[in-house]
């Protein structure tokens, strides 16, 4: 009873809460990232911008135009076209378009790829000034996005 009155008069619970806020003032506890200047390090498995890998030895694409990624995609946003090469009896990739504006980065296409040609990378800055800019062609997929780097 008296203890309760004491708490009421001297606002003990209020100061208890304020003490928590005060403890968190410690500069060691800053969590905010200064984004454009300080770039976050995303996880190794991060599912970001798609990339079409090329063979580093000869610069040729790894894609075998099997169309499995296009079939796996829930949004049907991958279009693969190919041409049959009469000499090697294989399909050569002609175009590969990937509509990032409809992509939900579920990773089903990279799971489906049998040769690890299509991959979702750690790049996460995919903004574009136009809607057409969000539809990536083969060249864009191979080079990857080039976001502006800011320094302070």
């Amino acid at each position: 009873m008296i203890a309760n009155l004491f708490r009421k008069v001297f606002l003990v619970d209020l100061f208890q809460g304020l003490w928590v806020t005060f403890r968190n003032q410690d500069p060691k506890r800053i969590y905010t990232e200064q984004y454009p200047a300080e770039r976050p390090k995303v996880g190794e498995r991060y599912r970001g911008a798609p990339r079409l890998n090329i063979n580093p030895d000869n610069g040729e694409t790894l894609c075998i135009s099997c169309n499995l990624c296009a079939l796996a995609c829930p949004e049907n946003l991958i279009v693969v076209t190919s041409q049959r090469n009469e000499q090697t009896k294989r399909k050569d990739l002609t175009t590969f378009t990937y509509d990032t504006s409809r992509c939900m980065f579920c990773g089903l296409c990279e799971d489906a790829c049998p040769v690890d040609a299509l991959e979702l990378t750690q790049d996460f800055e995919l903004a574009s000034y136009t809607r057409e800019g969000a539809i990536w062609d083969r060249q864009m997929l191979e080079e990857g996005p080039k976001p502006t780097q800011y320094k302070c």
Binding site: D13, L14, T21, E44, R45, P74, C106, L108
Partner: protein, 370 residues
């Protein structure tokens, strides 16, 4: 739409939402007011309707898995677990023990993340602005674990039908253990800020009372039901994914008011940490993927699986006609059912308490509208 009625001279109709920040999305509540007193409410939903159930009928079983993350986007992992369990029941396969343990860890971490977001926004609605910063800070650590595990923070697509796709990364156990040790003092910190705070208690005690009988009538589940004193938790009542191996308590309240729902959720966060601690100590070795064919074609039949999502009972009902796509897919979202009780809780109260009651129901409009 509500039918046009002749109002008393004293009655006033106000639209709360769909842009009101405290409706947690795009909920529109039509309030009939007599001064400060609420005489009746009507919810208008559907602003976020995307037809997820219909999309499900036009996607293969694997292709639909990312869409379920987008219903309750605050607890995407739980949604994924419910869907995967339903398809596994249709296929009559079970995830291997290792996959089950990892699933339990991730869903419980997701429960913590969901409750943290609830606590932050609920306190923000009522006027305590500090907890939201601390809650989001702690939630960030959970999201980092998700990001490192499956590559996405919010719409995770963490589980696959039959088990897991991703093996745990190096240092996963270490990180989860570190989080558990670090997290419990943080919950105490929130309690220090709120539990005895005079304003907090004054705003919550005796507000939005929903008795156990009313809860059962409306089909309300989750922390709202438990706060009314009913010990009902699907993890105990019909264990799935190996929950029977873990020791935990079901926290319950007494009065079924907003304050009890707050204490129940706070205790649930502690219990979730307890489950995570136990699960991470005994992750069995072995395969992570069950025997599931590449093309999922369940036999003709139907299956209903419900799990205890952070917000209540989340059920998936799937009818299969032996094709690669579900014949019919129905979701029983907890938020949608819990929202029905809003009128019962608000009626006769004050207009300022409507915000507190919507907050305490912990609805996610992505799940209400689907």
């Amino acid at each position: 739409m509500p039918e046009a009625t002749f109002l008393d001279a004293t009655e006033l109709v106000i639209n709360m939402g769909p842009q009101h920040p405290s409706t947690h999305g795009v909920l529109r509540v039509i309030l009939k007011l007599d001064g400060e007193k609420v005489n009746g409410t009507e919810c208008v939903i559907g602003y976020l309707h995307r037809g997820v159930e219909k999309i499900g009928e036009n996607r293969t079983y694997q292709q639909f898995a990312p869409y379920v993350d987008r219903m309750d986007y605050v607890a995407a992992v739980s949604n994924g677990l419910g869907y995967c369990l339903a398809v596994e029941k249709l296929l009559n396969v079970e995830a291997p023990p290792r996959a089950q343990a990892v699933r339990v860890i991730l869903t419980e971490l997701n429960r913590i993340a969901s409750h943290l977001l609830w606590l932050g926004t609920h306190a923000l609605d009522i006027g305590a602005i500090t907890p939201v910063f601390y809650c989001l800070r702690e939630r960030e650590e959970v999201l980092k674990i998700f990001e490192n595990y499956c590559g996405a923070r919010l719409t995770t697509h963490a589980f696959r039908i039959g088990g897991l796709l991703y093996e745990t990364y190096d240092g996963f156990e270490e990180e989860v253990r570190k989080f558990c040790d670090w997290f419990i003092p943080k919950v105490d910190e929130y309690e220090e800020l709120l539990t005895n705070n005079r304003i907090w208690v004054g705003r919550l005690k005796g507000v939005g009372i929903l008795s156990a009988d009313e809860c059962k009538e409306y089909g309300v589940t989750g922390p709202v039901l438990r706060a009314a004193g009913v010990q009902w938790d699907l993890r105990k009542a019909q264990p799935y994914s190996g929950y029977e191996q873990y020791e935990f308590d079901i926290p319950t309240g007494e009065n079924g008011d907003t304050y009890d729902r707050y204490t129940v959720r706070m205790e649930e966060m502690r219990q979730s940490t307890r489950i995570v601690r136990q699960a991470v100590e005994r992750i069995p070795t072995g395969p992570i993927m069950g025997k599931v064919p590449k093309v999922v074609k369940p036999p003709v039949g139907e299956a209903y699986v419900s799990i205890e999502a952070p917000k209540g009972e989340l059920g998936y009902f799937i009818v299969s006609d032996n094709s690669t796509q579900p014949y019919r897919l129905r979701v029983r979202p907890p938020s949608f059912v819990n929202l029905q009780a809003l009128d019962c809780m608000v009626r006769g109260g004050l207009v300022a308490d409507v915000v507190a009651i919507i907050g305490t129901l912990d609805i996610v409009l992505g799940e209400v509208d689907r």
